[in-house]
Amino acid sequence: MKISNSLSQLLKASSIILVLLQFSCAQNKQRETIVVASAGKIESLDPAQANTLRTLQLLSSLGDTLYKINKKGELYPVLAKDLPKVSKDRLTIDISLKEDITFHDGSQFNANAMAFSLRRFIEIGTLNYLLKDKLEDIEVLEDFVLRLKLKKPSSSIKGLLTSVNLTPVSPKSYSQHRDKFNNENFIGTGPYFLKSFSSGQQRIQPYMKYWDKKPLNKGIDYINFNNSSTLFGAIKSKEVDVLISNSIDDMQRIYLSNMVKKGKLKEGKGEAIEIGFITLKSNKLPLSNKKIRQAISYSIDRKLISQQVSFGTRDPLRSIIPPHFHQKSIQPWPSYNPETTRKLLKEEGFCNSKVLTIPLTFRSNVPADRLFALTWKDQIKRDLSDCMNITLNGLESTTVYKQLAEGSFEAIILDWTGDYPDPESYLTPLLSCNLIKQEDICIEGEAVSSGSFWANEKVQSLLKRSEEIDGEKRLNTLIKVQELAAEGAAYIPVWIVKPKAWSLQNISQPEFSRDGMIILQRLKRD
């Protein structure tokens, strides 16, 4: 009797669960929007506050920029009517804007709105220094003509004008938020409008009055999980339609790539925008000795490290500027050659029972950095134990950033993603220096903030020159900067990370724009 009672209760409970599960299945079948998952919460949708890739990803679909860069690396107008007109002295840029574009609140997009957005970014933007350093003033010449007055000639400002951070917002809707962030709303001109927002999930829907091509889907549900395993499980269980890779562990990337090979998923790749490198502090012995730094730069077996850390998914890199900006193969940094390392170190008195010890710091909260450090240490032990030794020290990233400019690290593993798609956004933040001492020591400038303290007069003049020229000439100048930096060997590029995204079989293959963002409006159900 007891058993039959228990069984009947068990059956009742099971049927309730089954009914609930049926509801959930029905929901999945009815799903019309596309669910896109990425890592980490989105705390704010204000372009002035946005400083994470996930936020910029969403904003790139909610807003438009003045310009974008095509696959050939050329600027093309989006909200602007045509390419920027630069004055002869290169100190003013006139931008004509498209007419008949409306914000999601129905108000008109014009030069006043663009000026409002740029001024607001300069006033409260987290990364406002990007614009502040370059812009003197913003003028509204006509209803649809904007003039930017520059502090000094700047070729890179064109690239900066493609930045998602500078997407215009509606002055009407942001009148109460001129000097403060508007975290949970976004009123822009993009192909989607924001339907709902919470830090864990956001819904965007096609904006019917959009001026350009309409999205191919009925909306995007953008959800944010906290860890790689949950993201991985979510696409594996088909709970999400598309997965963005920015925080997926390398091990899981491999598993996902295998699923692609088996035809279970589709994979989209973007241009690599994140570089991984080692910074060597060059203002104190032993690393103030250029030959020792050069010896170290020969000692890195990038292929092995990439294989060990990421199963080869991180491409070995021998330049600071990501290769797609070059349009030709440029590799100024030397390839792996332990014999040259030994030769150079011997010339400096090492290897004959005197071993060079390099304390290498890595960010303990970045798993790839830890693996990189361990692999390099072992590789050095294998190839150069008579000359070199690496000791490891892990520190949380915020602590690392605090102490970089204080010169606390002899050698440290870091990464960098340019703030906008221009080669300059990779070189200046590492190499620029305002005050140089003893030929190659930086006292004040970006080279101090980045922890290398390395400077070179020629590099500074070439960087300055590159802002005054365009096209092929400019690219060649920046290549020359890289060659000098490679010779200085204060930075050693190691790898480059391509953004990837995976979609379920019934969803189109994810496509990326030049700045590493998935083009959400091109996602569709097959």
Binding site: K41, N128, Y129, Q201, S229, A234, T398, S449
Partner: protein, 340 residues
């Protein structure tokens, strides 16, 4: 003095200590955060930006002021009930807490319910039939759940029920693609019931199952062991023997004589567990991407968002103090021997 007056006086004295306690805690947090290496500027800008830009952001966030001024300003705001605004998003800390706390409370309450049902049932059955099969299994269960690392257990449960079987969602609090029910209580399940929409109830319920089950099962081991041990001890007391000799039924002995006497330690353990859950379900919140207060606190610490960390710590501390006073009062009511 009557017992009721005694308890009232005791409650008042404990509550009177609350502001002093909060002042000490908030001052400690204030100092510890500033001693920790790195500041919000480093967390926001990372290794970007030159020193000028960093300094300008530091000024904008008010971090350039002398520490004592920052502290006095903070205390002044705190006295007026203002927890400040987030340095990262400029959102009022009160609003951040009011969004995250209900999520944590919802998860904690459900987990405690599950832990109580499973744990106390196993403990009760083990104590009534000592050395039996259930007792043995209960012991293994108790030790096993106690020893399991929470994140590992959570990941196993995720893989089994979300990835392999696909019965429940892998994370989050509400299904993607559905509009949240209008916020009344902040407890999504309750708000979903109030919305009277079956898909809302289903969505909120299904998202709550895995995190609360994981947390509940992990806690149930402590509950089962504590009930079993206390009940076994009480069952060996003289007054139980005398009740048996008077011919009182086993059921009556258990319910009327033994269980009430095990309530005090049980209540204390349950209360402390609930209190610790308010701020301590971090690993479960991270694994299941549950947007609770612990996750918020962890992110705020990573971002060195001083006002948010301070605000959350104060909110959690207040809850713990209030809860511990409530437990003391409950114990005083239950046990006539307790006096204050």
């Amino acid at each position: 003095m009557t017992k009721r007056k005694e308890i009232f006086k005791y409650t008042l004295s404990r509550l009177a200590l609350l502001p002093i306690m909060l002042w000490i805690i908030s001052s400690l947090v204030f100092v510890l955060l500033r001693i920790a290496p790195g500041d919000p500027v480093d967390a926001i800008l990372g290794n970007r930006a030159n020193e000028l830009a960093r300094e300008s952001l530091r000024i904008r966030l008010g971090l350039d002021k002398p520490l004592i001024n920052q502290y006095l300003e903070y205390l002044n705001h705190l006295i007026h009930g203002d927890l400040g605004t987030s340095l990262n998003t400029q959102e009022p800390v009160k609003s951040i807490i009011s969004k995250a706390l209900p999520a944590s409370l919802e998860l904690s309450i459900c987990a405690i319910l599950i832990a109580s049902i499973i744990g106390y049932l196993i403990g009760y059955l083990g104590a009534t039939k000592p050395e039996g099969k259930i007792d043995l299994l209960g012991r293994i269960f108790g030790i096993g759940t106690y020893a399991l690392p929470p994140f590992w257990a959570a990941m196993l449960i995720q893989i089994l029920f979300a990835v392999t079987l696909g019965w429940f969602p892998i994370g989050g609090r509400f299904p993607a693609g559905m509009s949240f029910p209008s916020q009344v209580t902040g407890f999504l399940l309750l708000d979903s019931f109030l919305s009277l929409k079956i898909e809302n109830i289903n969505g909120a319920f299904r998202h709550l199952v895995l995190p609360s089950m994981t947390l509940g099962i992990l806690l149930s081991g402590i509950f089962s062991r504590s009930l079993k041990l206390n009940l076994s001890k009480v069952l060996k007391k003289g007054y139980i023997e005398s009740a048996r000799s008077r011919g009182i039924s086993k059921k009556n002995i258990l319910i009327k004589h033994a269980l009430p006497n095990t309530l005090i330690p049980i209540l204390t353990i349950t209360g402390l567990t609930v209190a610790s859950l308010f701020g301590g379900a971090l690993l479960i919140e991270i694994t299941f991407s549950w947007p609770g207060i612990a996750l918020g606190l962890q992110e705020a610490i990573n971002q060195r968002d001083y006002p948010t960390v301070q605000g959350i710590v104060i909110a959690i501390s207040s809850l713990i103090v209030i809860l511990s006073v409530a437990i003391d009062i409950a114990i005083a009511y239950i046990d006539p021997r307790v006096s204050y």
